[in-house]
Amino acid sequence: MKSLSARRRHPLALAALLLVALTSTGGLYAILSSGAPAQAASSQSLAIQEGRELFLNSCSSCHGLNAEGTTDGPTLIGVGAAAVDFQVATGRMPATIEAQQIPETKERFTQAQIDQLAAYIASLGPGPAVPEPPVYDPASGDLAQGGDLFRTNCASCHNFAGAGGALSRGKYAAALAGVDPKYIYEAMLTGPQSMPVFSDSTLTPEEKRSIIAFVTHITQEGNPGGQGLGRIGPVSEGIVGWIVGIGALVGAAVWIGAKAT
């Protein structure tokens, strides 16, 4: 110890101390901070890379080589991962036909591929991210509030019982029965096709969750009063009333009026 303290004013002491401090902090940092972030970052960039490959193969003919949009498809810069997840996972994209409305089809990508595509699109510009499961869990929504919000904001197009409905020129609002809560959430968040955008700043995540709870409830509950006739209101009810009801009355009248033998 004596010798060390004696040399503490040595010109090289400062340099040696600095060297020890730097290597120890650097070494400690390298040991304590595991390799995960570095790996995650590289897997994230790998996902973006893979997503870009998928994009070039399946999407770029309409959306442009850099997702800048063409006359056939809108730009995807800034639409966010949620839009990609909704459109691709519900099979609406890649579009198979050029129609008034791109229909829902069978999913053609695995969730891993969809995540890669979403990562690539999200890397192009800031947009809504794919929500985490607790965010759209219908069990934690407020049914009454959800019903209120649904009737104000959604029922005009999607029908009072979520049965869907017609829009103009062959477009339509989708029926909501059996739709995964995640996709209901993403649809509200991103406003696919004709649907308006209900961003988190206009409908909070809690309010969206309540709407999802209400939709899940009304589309899953049975019909307490008997056959719901598609729950589309006066059209189907009128048809049944006129054909079945009045038909039965005409039959009864014929029977009453026929001559007994």
Partner: protein, 360 residues
């Protein structure tokens, strides 16, 4: 009288004389007048058909069977009515059953409908079956008679009126009693009309103005929170209302839809002027019959009324492009306050909602 002589005066039906072409044969009757005798008239009265007995009239076994059938229907109806009561007591009102074609339906309501319907239907079919098979079945002709009262009745009625008029002595001073009676009757009739005042008061200017005023804060319809302009994304549709207005009649007029569009797509200078950086506020009340409009196609920028499909083009001052509405949606002038929240810049420049008589 022939059986075609429906009006009973012995002349035959009017217009029968030769106007029916070959179907009518004019002949001299013993009375010396022309009478029509129809030969192959397609509408000829077939007369009374011969009475044909039913099987239950001639066959005692068939009759007993029909009696048993009717009694069975009434008996089953009683059982169904008891079933209704049992369903009320025994079936949980929240229970569901699953049926093919019907899906999940409420068990108790299903049982109610089945049992009560069956109970009523069986009473009906039993009664009809009874009358058709068992009750007597004579053929009956009901003759029409003249609407005019017989002459003696008419004369006695006229005499009674005349006698009453004489006994009243109204002829002496007609204006004192008669006039006052007419006045009293008139007053008693008109007086209740005052209750019609309860239909009012007249709307006066209420149809022309809403709760919106200069600097009135715009809030979300569902949360009563103010709306920050930067929080409204392109493509958004927000139902909004004036802050601190509780009266439902006022809210019903003042409710608005907030949309954000690309400002360079707007084709209407006035619309741009009333909006704020692509945010526009339109009345949510359809100008047709006042339904709340809420069907917004983000891509075509059409706003539709779900009641009758009136379509408004929000790129062009919410002009009507389809449907029964006759007027554009009124647009609320908006701006932002110092904190960046949306506020109204005044009231609508025209009455909102459906047209009314004095609207002009």
């Amino acid at each position: 009288m022939s059986r075609y002589d429906t009006d009973g005066d012995g002349h035959g039906p009017d217009g029968a004389n030769g106007s029916h072409g070959h179907a009518v044969e004019v002949s001299e009757t013993p009375t010396g007048r022309h009478a029509a005798r129809l030969t192959d008239d397609p509408f000829a009265d077939p007369g009374r058909l011969p009475h044909e007995p039913r099987r239950t009239d001639v066959d005692a076994q068939a009759r007993r069977r029909a009696e048993r059938q009717v009694a069975t229907m009434f008996g089953l109806s009683t059982l169904a009515a008891i079933g209704f009561v049992v369903a009320f007591v025994a079936i949980d009102k929240d229970a569901f059953v699953s049926l093919p074609l019907f899906g999940e339906i409420g068990a108790q309501n299903l049982a109610f409908g089945l049992f009560l319907g069956l109970s009523l239907l069986l009473i009906g079919t039993g009664v009809i079956h009874w009358s058709r098979k068992l009750m007597t079945s004579p053929e009956i002709v009901e003759e029409r008679h003249s609407l005019r009262s017989p002459e003696p009745d008419r004369e006695s009625a006229a005499a009674a009126v005349k006698e009453g008029a004489e006994e009243s002595t109204l002829g002496r001073r007609p204006f004192l009693i008669g006039g006052s009676l007419v006045g009293a009757l008139g007053a008693a009739t008109v007086a209740p009309l005052i209750t019609l005042r309860d239909l009012g008061p007249l709307p006066e200017k209420k149809l022309r103005h809403t709760a919106w005023a200069e600097q009135h804060q715009i809030v979300f319809e569902h949360s009563n929170l103010p709306i920050r302009a930067v929080d409204v994304p392109i493509g958004a549709m927000i139902t909004a209302k004036p802050k601190d207005v509780e009266d439902l009649n006022e809210l019903a007029k003042a409710v608005i839809l907030i949309l954000r569009l690309e400002p360079d797509q707007i084709q209407n200078a006035r619309q741009l002027e009333l909006g704020y950086e692509g945010i526009f506020a339109f009345s949510k009340i359809c100008t047709h019959v006042g339904c709340p409009i809420g069907l917004y196609e983000r891509e075509t920028h059409h706003l539709l009324c779900p009641c009758h499909q009136s379509t408004f083009d929000v790129l062009n001052g919410a002009r009507v492009i389809f449907g029964p509405a006759a007027r554009s949606l009124p647009q609320l002038p908006i701006n932002v306050d110092d904190a960046g929240f949306l506020v109204a810049e005044g009231d609508f420049d025209q009455p909102v909602g459906p047209s009314f008589w004095e609207r002009g």
